[in-house]
């Protein structure tokens, strides 16, 4: 619609990288914190991750149990809807495929509502958690995941905007319909593909 903004050229540092989705900029080595709630102190002796809903066998893992599963790492880029992207970062944990394979989703399951210890929720199509695209992680660049970044354990779905990667994850409930989560009820997109700039409802 509108033409160029008078006098705006963009900064070389911000526009340098062709790997960025539209409207994103490279935040460099920084890792901004954006959350809507009080940072919780998750007690790992009490914490568990549950996969339930439309599955053959609702399954829970304790902190010890989940770390005993085969490990999996992600190396790549993450994209926040507030327009920063962090390139060439890494996380370690377990593939969500491993968890779903254990619980065995029913044929009618199409979506997942993910919940956190804080009550935060986010919704995703089941397909976005399948095929080696999603992890439950507890390390970031080789170190324990800090609390403010969702530690001790968070979801990681790096091909979608980062609010889908629920911090302090505790439950994934499989559904036969889409059910808006926290930000999705507050105006954000149900899928959140950064390459399509699906930031807000209706995008």
């Amino acid at each position: 619609m509108a033409g160029p903004t008078r006098g705006f050229t963009g900064s070389a540092r911000h526009r340098r990288n062709s790997r960025l989705p539209p409207g994103q900029y490279d935040v460099g080595s920084a890792y901004p914190v954006l959350t809507a709630e009080v940072t919780p102190d998750v007690d790992l002796s009490e914490w568990k991750l549950t996969v339930d809903g439309l599955v053959a066998e609702a399954t829970s893992w304790s902190w010890e149990e989940i770390r005993a599963l085969p490990g999996s790492e992600f190396h790549g880029d993450i994209h926040c809807v507030t327009t920063w992207s962090k390139l060439d970062t890494s996380f370690g944990g377990v593939s969500v495929d491993t968890l779903l394979d254990a619980a065995r989703p029913s044929a009618e399951a199409t979506h997942v509502l993910v919940s956190s210890t804080t009550g935060y929720t986010t919704n995703l199509p089941l397909a976005d958690l399948r095929g080696g695209q999603a992890w439950v992680v507890w390390t970031h660049e080789g170190q324990p995941l800090p609390r403010e970044h969702g530690g001790p354990v968070r979801l990681l779905v790096p091909h979608l905007y980062f609010w889908k990667s629920a911090k302090w994850v505790s439950r994934m409930t499989l559904l036969d319909h889409d059910e808006p989560g926290f930000w999705e009820q507050n105006g954000y997109h149900d899928r959140g593909d950064p390459w399509k700039e699906q930031r807000y409802q209706g995008d």
Binding site: M1, A2, G3, P4, T5, R6, G7, F8, T9, G10, S11, R13, H14, R15, P22, G23, Y25, V27, A30, P32, V33, L34, T35, A36, E37, V38, T39, P40, T82, T83, W84, T118, G119, E148, F182, W183, Q185, N186, G187, K196, E197, Y200, Q201, G202, D203
Partner: protein, 246 residues
């Protein structure tokens, strides 16, 4: 880039006022055609387009209320940023900016329930919208505000906050405090310089309120943790953190 099909459209805003009330920041008042009403606490996205089509967009909280004929943004200039230096240094009255909003339905206050709003630095901007709203609807009694900055000269909207009875706290020095007027200034004078403390917030707790905390990640973490320590339920605390995102 595809335009949104049925979502919030981009609008062509005209800059009507530009001022620099505190160092390293700019206040912009924009005329936005056909804009929907917004709630205090919501933000707008500003999008800049270069000659070659390169675009950059950032979100900024509104200081204005729905009743204001213009939309007021207050933007801190981040030296290594991309959008804020342009807004602070380049934008003139009469310029056009693409904007989209209002965005965010969580960090909002409708003015119907008791609220405590705690802001640090430019984190006070959405709180100013809440304050103005509380006055417009005749319910200033429902809202208590605490505003923190390095010094009075660095606090956005210091005069307006102080006049409305906000508690002010300064981490470094009190230079500029003598220029302010308001009912709680003696507390600001007597308070030792330093970061937000439990006793600052304790005095403002009424019970049953929703707390709104806005500021840098560090400030928001401190203030929200203090509120939990003081007995406010985490479910009653809404936090908006912002980082150096330019």
């Amino acid at each position: 880039m595809t335009e949104p099909r049925s979502g919030i459209p981009w609008r062509d805003a005209t800059v009507r006022h530009v001022s620099h009330p505190v160092p390293r920041a700019v206040q912009l008042r924009l005329e936005v055609p056909d804009r929907p009403e917004h709630l205090p606490g919501q933000h707008y996205v500003v999008r800049l387009t270069a000659e070659d089509g390169y675009r950059a967009s950032r979100s900024y909280s509104l200081a204005s209320t729905a009743a204001d004929p213009l939309v007021e943004l207050f933007v801190e200039r981040l030296d290594d940023g991309e959008v804020s230096p342009y807004l602070a240094d380049e934008v003139r009255t009469g310029d056009h900016l693409e904007v989209r909003g209002p965005i965010g339905r969580w960090f909002t206050w409708s003015g119907e329930t008791p609220a405590l709003a705690v802001g640090g630095g430019t984190g006070v901007v959405p709180l100013v919208a809440m304050l103005r709203h509380s006055i417009e609807i005749g319910r200033p009694d429902l809202l208590r505000v605490a505003a923190f900055a390095g010094s009075p000269e660095e606090l956005p909207y210091a005069g307006e906050l102080s006049a409305a009875g906000a508690l002010l706290g300064f981490s470094r020095d009190r230079r500029g405090l003598e220029a302010l007027a308001g009912p709680r200034l003696s507390a600001a004078r007597d308070r030792p310089t330093g970061r937000v403390r439990g006793e600052d917030l304790e005095a403002l707790l009424a019970g049953g309120q929703t707390a709104y905390v806005c500021g840098s990640a560090g400030f928001a973490e401190s203030a929200s943790s203090l509120l939990v320590t003081l007995g406010v339920a985490p479910e009653q605390i809404r936090v908006e953190r912002f980082g150096p995102t330019g």
